[in-house]
Symmetry: C2
Subunit: 405 residues, 2 copies
């Protein structure tokens, strides 16, 4: 009987999440670090901003000097020159005076607020201020953005463009990050031919190569395509050997338990250990997870949809661990189902969906199609997980949808 | 008075969306096309799959021969060999017979269903089938995934890894796509220094260079950093000239209307036309949009948060138009506000937020901070738009949140 020992999705994830891995680090230029994972806590060694700056163009003042100022009753302040941007302001503001200041320039000693210059009128050597402000208004103080000694980014965070801004602010031009994992990708199947060949009867072109490779590339991995292997032990083992230097090996196709179960046999013959073969999910059941040369190896179903769903659910979390990502983000939303989704009890089911927004909210439309239908994936922007313990969802229910990455 | 002619966000977007652009195309390898925009409708020139295939390992049968079969009353079929994967199946299935077939192999002529082999028992030269199936079960028919003559991908679509799978299925190894726009990026301000320099009093490091460049790179653009310009017309005009070959120019900083409005003056002196200067938004008000050498040019606020919000709201839509993207996706979700958001009537306001998911749903927590505070952006995963006509949102309201790209 097939898949007698099929595991649950939860059991599969536990095995995957406890697979022992080791991480390596390197120093990379800030400019190349977007999407990479930082390997150390970043502790600020200076205040950002390092000095009090004006947030607007206007006049630096002592707030007490303009108390109660308004259009019809302006405060008159003596004009004492300008605080030039990019330079140190050495002047000290005295009572009853003001200093012109541009956005970003240094606040002069003694000033405790900046009046936007639309609330001012020049009057010879003086300036009329037509509005009162509160203490500290339009000033950003030293350390108000980042305080010396604070942890600004935690080890294990995937760097966004905004994080690069934080690193730039602190002058960190070189970033200590985890190395990108090297992932070996093999397509398997006697029927599979490269994309640029014309299929003879019985043959089809290699789809999974392109979907897997480009999904993984988006996560900052080095994916190396090792070619197509036929359904025979010599060819499979040759391809696995070629991927031996990789941190993870993925084989698409050849994972179903037919008469010729060459994939698990080949892994075993090379000294590997099958950790599971078969998960109670749909689609994606014949997924294999094994340890070979102390590295994780996945056998993914050949059907393009099954392959992508198994990749999304089981492979991506391990890829992210191999990248050092401590807290992977999963973009999601909620929407109202436009049709029923039937599902079997005891199986975790993945339903790819279209997501539509209008004024009223978000609607979610399942794309039902066989697991080999790649065109249905192309229209999907996300997927629903129907838990094992649930027999589907009903039309009108508000369901969680995960975006594809 | 400042920004007397400030436009609304809607007016700004109308000007941006009607800016005349021209698109150019090129042929790129399939392997490099993920994230690029396709420049033609892709019409299938063949059926996918090209032949009837089995979705499982099992026995190809005539469904009428196993009508009513069950564990206790199996149907007996004569075993007639195997349909080998990757080869043409030339045999025709006759009444009362079955042919072994692997997942993906060609269905023999005459068969109209496949019984999974867990519902079979070998009996010498025959096979007992212990379950009945419906017509067509476990078969994918020619054209069921993609039908000859159908439009599988529309011109103007951004290619996902799944779309690459569709193109691979059809044997399209070269993709006719729009060229990546070349975007010139300039940082401006006398106070701005490169990240690897130590700031003197009054100076700060260039943050916007890293945030803008890496946000735009994610959208498949070629961004060329043209350096830092000082706040003087010669330097600004020199930098703009250097970016003349680009399809779009972005300048961060120098857009506020201080006493020295060198940016708009420089654009005008080079023959450009200011389309708007100032938008009724917060943060991001001093944004400039202009036409120079028939190309769009944005002057973005120098404050890092204002800069990113103006980029997100106004620049990204035009970048996507320049990429040929007809229908840009905007990932969003809805969540319950954990605090009030005050906002002024008449101003479109952007509030960056943290998004948290738990069993109960999604909560959205505003990150209030001054517009120059980069560390608040680093913690944000999305933002809320408070419309002009609304004076904020209240705690407990269910609000739409856009994910940062």
């Amino acid at each position: 009987m097939e898949f007698l020992k099929a595991v649950t999705a939860k059991e599969a994830l536990e095995m995957i999440n406890s697979f022992p891995i080791s991480l390596h680090t390197e120093v990379i230029p800030l400019d190349e670090s977007s999407g990479r994972i930082i390997a150390e806590d970043i502790i600020a060694h200076e205040n950002i901003p390092p000095f009090s700056r004006s947030l607007v163009d206007g006049f630096a003042v002592k707030v007490k000097d303009i108390h109660g100022a308004k259009e019809t009753n302006p405060a008159l302040l003596i004009y004492k020159g300008e605080s030039r941007i990019g330079e140190e302001t050495k002047e000290t503001l005295e009572d009853g005076c003001c200093i012109y200041i541009s956005t970003g320039a240094m606040i002069p000693e003694g000033a405790d607020g900046v009046v936007m210059h639309e609330y001012s009128r020049p009057m010879g050597d003086a300036v009329e201020i037509t509005r009162t402000i509160h203490k500290g208004e339009n000033i950003i103080f030293p350390g108000e953005d980042i305080r010396t000694g604070s942890i600004v980014l935690k080890q294990g965070k995937r760097l966004t463009p905004f994080d690069l801004g934080v690193l730039a602010a602190l002058g960190i031009a070189d970033v200590w990050s985890y190395k990108k994992p090297k992932i070996g990708l093999i397509s398997s199947g006697d029927e599979i031919i490269p994309v640029d060949q014309k299929p003879a009867p019985g043959q089809i072109r290699d789809i999974n190569h392109y979907t897997i490779l480009n999904m993984l590339r988006k996560t900052c991995s080095d994916v190396i395509f090792m070619g197509i292997t036929g359904d025979n032990p010599e060819d499979i083992q040759g391809h696995l050997h070629a991927a031996r230097d990789c941190h993870m090996i993925l084989v698409s196709g050849g994972s179903s338990k037919g008469e010729k179960d060459y994939m698990t046999e080949s892994i075993k013959q090379l000294g590997g250990k099958i950790l599971f073969h078969g998960v109670n999910i749909k689609p994606g059941k014949p997924t294999i997870f094994a340890s070979l040369w102390e590295k994780p190896i996945f056998g993914l179903p050949g059907h393009p949809v099954s392959c992508i769903m198994a990749l999304t659910r089981f492979v991506l979390p391990l890829v992210k661990r191999l990248q050092g990502d401590n807290n992977p983000e999963k973009k999601q939303t909620k929407g109202v189902l436009t049709t029923n989704i039937p599902s079997s009890y005891g199986i975790e089911e993945y339903v790819r969906v279209e997501i539509d927004y209008d004024n009223k909210g978000c609607t979610v439309t399942p794309l039902f199609a066989k697991s080999s239908v790649i065109s249905s994936l192309s229209r999907a922007s996300g997927y629903i997980i129907v838990p094992e313990a649930k027999e589907g969802f009903e039309r009108g229910e508000n369901v969680v949808v995960y975006y594809f990455e």
